[in-house]
């Protein structure tokens, strides 16, 4: 047991929480934007996978990690846009279209990987690049805290800055206002001449771009290669994080950190003699438990108010 606490309270563990939260946070923010516009984007998983591979291939071709990132994000945005085309123009069910994208991503990435790298599992034959890590002056020297917050991948910092950007975008800009209006009452938006379709296109594209960042981080930061199914459900965990976070940017950040915590825990516990299969189940169990707790609390709230009043508390 003490070994367990040694792990949790080490700076190394704090560092790894932030590290593993990063892709979930990007995707959760992507889920947030599309949710606000009234479309559920469950294609985040597939988009991340596609972007992860795109980043590896283009960074290997050009030798530039940033060009790889650019292409990964571009592809993310394009897939988001195409989801918009299927659901908004062709009127397919958005869930089904997203499921199709996820399935294409699973098979398609392996196919492309084989064409490009000659391997069906991993991209190690490609000389892909990773995005740089950043040491923060002054902060890095503070004992205890420095090692947690300094020295992360540039995308980790971007992810947490994005929380702020997205908050500003949603709540302080005209487009953000329109996105929220379209998501909440599309007829109201329509009746004042806001194009519901256009607004949803924009939201899905931004959602795709954010997932693209998450994907690029997976293969050019978290690890330095692409491997099949490497996203491993993070796109779905992000959807849970967004819902539990109460569909707010800050909420998304907190729940992403929570899932990151369990993810990091799973990684660390492998050092102890706990079966690997059990440990790697943790983040997913946490997701299910988290959602259950969230729903129960929501329904209990109303009941509690009634009961409190019944006990004669003055209302």
């Amino acid at each position: 047991m003490s070994a367990f606490f040694d792990i949790i309270f080490s700076s190394h563990f704090g560092y790894s929480v932030l590290r593993v939260s990063t892709p979930i946070l990007f995707a959760a923010l992507g889920a947030l934007i599309s949710d606000k516009a009234g479309v559920i984007n469950i294609a985040l998983e597939g988009i991340m996978l596609i972007s992860a591979l795109t980043g590896v291939i283009f960074s290997a071709i050009t030798g530039s990690a940033f060009f790889g990132l650019f292409m990964a994000v571009l592809f993310g945005g394009l897939v988001g846009l195409s989801l918009g085309y299927f659901s908004l123009n062709l009127k397919t069910n958005v869930i089904l279209a997203a499921v199709a994208i996820n399935l294409i991503a699973i098979g398609g990435t392996v196919f492309i990987l084989y064409l490009v790298a000659g391997d069906k599992g991993i991209s190690s034959s490609l000389a892909s690049k990773v995005l740089p890590k950043i040491n923060i002056p002054l902060l890095q020297n503070i004992p205890g805290i420095g090692p947690i917050f300094s020295g992360h991948n540039v995308l980790t910092y971007l992810a947490f800055l994005s929380v702020l950007f997205i908050w500003f975008f949603l709540y302080k800009t005209p487009l953000g206002l329109r996105i929220r209006a379209v998501g909440e009452n599309e007829h109201a938006a329509d009746s004042v001449g806001i194009s519901v379709v256009k607004t949803r296109y924009i939201a899905l594209t931004i959602s795709g771009i954010l997932a693209g960042f998450g994907g690029a981080y997976m293969s050019m930061g978290y690890v330095s290669w692409f491997s099949r199914d490497m996203v491993a459900g993070r796109g779905f965990i992000a959807l849970a994080a967004e819902a539990m976070g109460g569909a707010t940017p800050i909420g998304c950040m907190l729940t992403s950190l929570l899932f990151g915590f369990f993810d990091a825990l799973a990684n660390s516990l492998q050092l102890l003699k706990i079966p690997y299969e059990f440990v790697s189940m943790l983040p997913y169990v946490a997701t299910v438990v988290g959602l259950v707790i969230y729903t129960i609390r929501k329904t209990e709230k109303i009941r509690r108010i009634q009961e409190k009043a019944a006990e004669g508390g003055n209302a």
Binding site: P174, L177, R178, E184, H187, V192, G193, Q306
Partner: protein
């Protein structure tokens, strides 16, 4: 018929046929003069909304033309209508609940500062408009926290902000309390004095009399002519609307109440703002009586009805129906005790709007053996038979029982709800605003049915914001104010409107012994 030369807007020979074949407008001529308040009346389904949606660019006619100040115009969409100075306040509000008043007002035409939304400017705009047109709203409060009356003001301001000079209001009073209606009328008169033109749709003839200069009457998609309001009586208009004299009085014999069906004892309900919405009330409703609940809306009626029907929770007290405590029962369990419910919000709780009339009629009895062949298959013939019968019996105007409920007019939707609720052999009917926003014909029909059911031994609880209705239809009355019962009037016909008003506004209250009389054993 009159026809002024100074018509600011004229619709000529408008014909609209919906894809489902319903001819909603048949060669309608409609014209309004600058600066008037023009009433548009007609039974539900007469085609009023359709005609106005054509004017606002939401619908496109098969035939006919629209002339603005003598020049022919086409109105392809709401933006075009707005550009021509035509604004519309819809029957169902077009507002975003979580956004503030100011944000709703500027939505689509947002003021900017750099990349960001200039919220202070939006608030200033709202305040200025609110002042100019004397429509009091708080720019910062969220729409969802506002009462309907205020939401409507926001809608009117929205139209004015976009430069509307001709304002269409589609049944604006259907959702308002009498006080809010009076306020609205003052505001509309002010708008008229400032040179605006208003088209006012209503079912209530007294409102047309009180507010409008001229009135166009529609029946079954056709215009029955336009009249100066001063020259016609309410009876004249109603004859034109329905083609017969409507008796707005309810004919009924004296009630013969028997044993109590619904017993409410020391009930307390707390709303989501942690306020006591229903504060320790007790009453009974007996077989063969209609007990009315009078009161200004928002005095606990909704919470009471939700507690009685199982839609909401209650904090303490006892409710029993037919001698059974309902605390632990599901909504279904409560219904199985013989409770029927006509909900206030018929689109949310009354029906599944996207399903057919037939499906809606069957939504309570679908699992009864007479509609099922076996465990797996429903008996289509039996279903057809009963739905045809109900559609006929309740005179639901539709192309067939397979028609989507959404396509029906308000009055006919309510008839679907009522047909389902009344045909399940109820012992207790909880009837919440049963005739709100529906036409005279349907209103009369529903009221008569309630009286018939009463005579057959049903206990009826009637909640209505329509003072006329609650006084005419009820045998006895209780008045709710601030979540409490302030009066019990054993004989509803014995009290005057004025006296009732004092109880409704909480200015007077009976003593506890007098109120206790509403509890029978």
């Amino acid at each position: 018929m009159t026809d002024e030369p100074d018509a600011i807007l004229r619709m000529e020979n408008i014909t609209k046929i919906y894809p489902n074949g319903i001819m909603a407008n048949k060669g309608v001529n409609f014209s309004i003069a600058a600066g008037e308040i023009h009433g548009l009346v007609g039974e539900n389904g007469a085609g009023k909304t359709t005609l106005m949606q054509i004017l606002f660019g939401l619908n496109h006619p098969e035939e006919g033309k629209i002339l603005l100040e003598g020049k022919e115009i086409t109105i392809a969409n709401p933006n075009a209508a707005i550009a021509h100075g035509i604004g519309m306040v819809h029957q169902h509000f077009m507002l975003v609940p979580s956004l503030s008043v100011a944000e709703n007002l500027v939505l689509g035409v947002e003021p900017r500062k750099g990349v960001s939304l200039d919220l202070p400017e939006a608030i200033r705009t709202t305040e200025a408009l609110s002042k100019k047109f004397n429509l009091k709203v708080d720019p910062r409060s969220a729409i969802r926290d506002l009462p309907v009356g205020t939401k409507q003001k926001v809608e009117i301001l929205k139209a004015l902000h976009r430069g509307a000079r001709i304002l269409i209001l589609d049944e604006p009073t259907a959702v308002l309390t009498p006080q809010e209606t009076d306020e609205l009328f003052d505001e509309l008169k002010l708008l008229k004095d400032q040179g605006n033109t208003i088209i006012f749709i209503s079912h209530k003839l007294n409102e047309i009399k009180a507010l409008c200069d001229r009135v166009t009457v529609m029946r079954a998609g056709k215009s029955q002519g336009v009249f100066a309001v001063a020259d016609v009586t309410e009876q004249d208009i109603s004859r034109l609307m329905v083609g017969r004299d409507v008796i707005l009085r309810v004919e009924k014999s004296v009630a013969k109440p028997k044993k109590p069906v619904l017993k409410v004892q020391d009930l307390m309900v707390v709303n989501r703002f942690r306020k006591k919405a229903v504060d320790d009330i007790s009453f009974t409703v007996r077989q063969g009586e209609i007990l009315g609940i009078a009161g200004v809306e928002g005095n606990g009626q909704r919470e009471l009805v939700e507690a009685l029907t199982g839609l909401g929770l209650y904090a303490s007290g006892d409710i029993s129906i037919g001698g059974k405590d309902i605390k632990k029962l599901s909504i279904r369990g409560i219904r199985d005790l013989g409770t029927s419910h006509i909900p206030e919000d018929r689109m949310t709780y009354g029906c599944a709007a996207d399903l057919s009339i037939e499906m809606n009629l069957l939504s309570y009895t679908h699992d009864h053996p007479e509609y099922n062949k076996n465990y797996f298959l429903m008996d289509i013939n039996a279903i057809n038979e009963v739905s045809n019968k109900l559609v006929e019996e309740y005179r639901i105007l539709c192309s067939s029982p397979q028609q989507e409920v959404r396509r029906l007019s308000g009055g006919n939707i309510q008839k679907v709800v009522v047909a389902r609720e009344f045909s399940s052999n109820p012992k207790l009917i909880i009837s919440d605003q049963p005739t709100r926003g529906i036409d005279v014909g349907a209103t009369e029909f529903i009221r008569k049915r309630l009286v018939t059911l009463r005579d057959e031994g049903c206990a009826v609880l009637l909640v209505s914001a329509d003072l006329n209705e609650v006084m005419e239809l009820s045998d006895s009355l209780i008045v709710m104010y601030g979540g409490k019962i302030t009066a019990y009037i054993e004989d509803a016909s014995s009290i005057s409107e004025e006296a009732l008003g004092l109880y409704m506004l909480g200015l007077e209250s009976q003593g506890p012994e007098e109120i206790r009389r509403v509890c029978h054993d």
